[in-house]
């Protein structure tokens, strides 16, 4: 058997092995997404046949409730994203440049939310930070009596989503920081660079890629969340997740739910494209 025939046969076998999961992704991810986008634009006509219509979008963009929900979702996403980076970058820097028992404890605690299922986080946060929760009791004990619970306010989902997004954000940032060699930092220090200078000139360029991935993934993760906003946030205005859920399940309007999903797809496609481009551009052996 010639080498060419062997490799051709292997090629077909490889394709056969991946056929089912690829088909599953195509049928159950890309096809429904495409279908629901088309379904919002092409509507069946009364007398049969189909017609192109933007009516569901006109409704969404003239309905003040829908627009407020979209605005709330964007606000939550941006605020959560900024806070996630602001909280995790110092922790990641600390863990990269410090060794010892304290760093180990910090690492274990910061990655711990990875092992807590979403529904249990929700319960824990409600009992902890909710009205008359444990945090309020503890604060009252030390004489602080003006605690205003973030539960069921716009800050409720923000806190829950930071909890949820912390481990992944931290892992990606640490992975980016691990590319920086100690030698390059020591060299910079030898020529007299200060901490800020090292942060700006050596560390920042190395973690740009990680920051991009973190921002894109978290943007998608926060925008496409339903559980946290539903459990921890206010009902009016609400985030797109619970809004879509209610439109689909309670209002029973799949067309408007699809329209909301399509608008979510469009806004998130910016983050999605940034994410796919940045992982596609990485060197091949690096991508596992």
């Amino acid at each position: 058997m010639s080498a060419a025939v062997t490799s051709l046969r292997n090629g077909w076998r490889g394709l056969a092995f991946i056929a089912i999961p690829v088909t599953a992704i195509a049928i159950f991810l890309f096809y429904p997404a495409a279908l629901s986008i088309i379904g919002t634009l092409v509507r069946p006509k009364d007398g049969g046949g189909y017609t192109f219509s933007l009516q569901s979008y006109v409704f969404f963009f003239t309905d003040s409730y829908s627009l407020t929900n979209l605005g709330r979702t964007l606000w939550t996403t941006v605020v959560t994203l900024i806070l996630l980076v602001a909280v995790n970058l110092p922790i990641a820097l600390y863990m990269r440049f410090t060794k010892g028992p304290l760093a180990t404890v910090i690492q274990a605690l910061a990655l711990f939310p990875m092992f807590v299922p979403g529904i249990i986080i929700c319960y824990a946060l409600i009992r902890y930070m909710g009205p008359n929760g444990w945090l309020q009791s503890l604060l009252a004990l030390v004489g602080f009596h003006h605690y205003a619970s973030p539960h069921l306010t716009p800050w409720g989902p923000v806190i829950g989503l930071i909890w949820d997004g912390m481990p992944l954000t931290l892992l990606i940032l640490i992975s980016g920081l691990s590319n920086i060699s100690d030698a390059s930092i020591e060299a910079a220090r030898d020529v007299g660079a200060g901490r800020i200078r090292i942060l700006v000139s050596i560390i920042t360029p190395e973690i740009t890629h990680s920051l991009l991935i973190v921002s894109a993934l978290n943007f998608l993760g926060i925008f496409g969340q339903a559980l946290m906003p539903f459990m921890l946030g206010p009902t009016n205005p609400e985030m797109m997740g619970p809004f879509m859920l209610r439109t689909f399940s309670s209002v029973r309007d799949p067309l408007q739910a699809s329209t909301q999903a399509t608008i979510t797809f469009l806004i998130c496609s910016l983050a999605g494209i940034a994410y796919v481009r940045s992982i596609a551009r990485r060197p091949k052996e690096d991508r596992k």
């Binding site: 090629g11 490889g14 394709l15 092995f17 991946i18 089912i20 999961p21 599953a24 159950f28 991810l29 279908l35 629901s36 922790i91 600390y94 440049f97 410090t98 404890v105 910090i106 605690l109 711990f112 092992f115 807590v116 299922p117 529904i119 319960y123 824990a124 946060l125 009992r127 902890y128 930070m129 008359n132 929760g133 945090l135 009791s137 009252a140 004990l141 909890w163 992944l168 892992l171 990606i172 691990s178 901490r195 090292i198 991935i213 973190v214 496409g224 559980l227 459990m231 797109m240 859920l245 799949p254 699809s258 999903a261 979510t264 797809f265 998130c268 994410y275 796919v276 690096d286 596992k288």
Partner: protein, 272 residues
Amino acid sequence: MIFHSSRRFDFFGYGILLFLIFFIVLPVLTVFLWAFAEQWFYPAVLPTKWGFRFWSLVLARPDVWAALVTSIELSLTVTALSAVICLPAAYAFARMDFPGKSTFMLSFLMANAFPRFALIISIAVLFLSLDLVGTFTGVVIIQLLNTLLLMIWLPTAAFKAVSREMEEAARDVGASAWQVFRYVTLPQAFPTIAAALLMTFVWTFYETEGAWLVGAPRIRTMPLLMMQMINNQLVVQYGAVLSVMLWVPSLAAILMARRIIGGDTFAKGLGG
């Protein structure tokens, strides 16, 4: 040390520690306190009466057992299906050359590039026309999609890590392709694959959003029951007892799995 000298007290580190205690440790601890509290009124700092009364109350509820059975059935079905369709694909990605390989790998990662709940909505709209809403099959499909990425990419890494020299040595002494796979490749890749199976099972067990939209109200899984108990029940302890009862075993399992897989794999797999 770049950001602090070791001679000085590590304010920065202890600051982070304090933040993590208030932000992560105390909320989790709250669940445990409530699970063993028979009475706890504000502003008492600790439960006023401790005990196991609510454990027996939770265990006596038929809806808890029904949801537990549903969740275990679902998770077993999804994990088994996921393994059957993903493991050959993982082997192909690790060991075979075929046209479009990197594009296909990328298409799995692209599933990450969609807002999850919007995808679930569009799948649910499709399921509505296929009469799959409110069915076991519908929930299995939507949860299966969730597991594909993990189930392909962890075993791919496992198969890649198996030494080619050993496989070739086995071929040299006359082993068939199947024997090589069965006696050389599989045993070495097995720990990681087992860990992936375990994680898939636990993650499916706690998957909430897909089951909620596609399954409710007919298919009631454990997380959905917990959600209902958190939202509607006046008895605070039910949610806490269920959380502790189910989560502690799954935590032990996941920690075991994580030990095998290692932290960096996750960040790398997501493109970090």
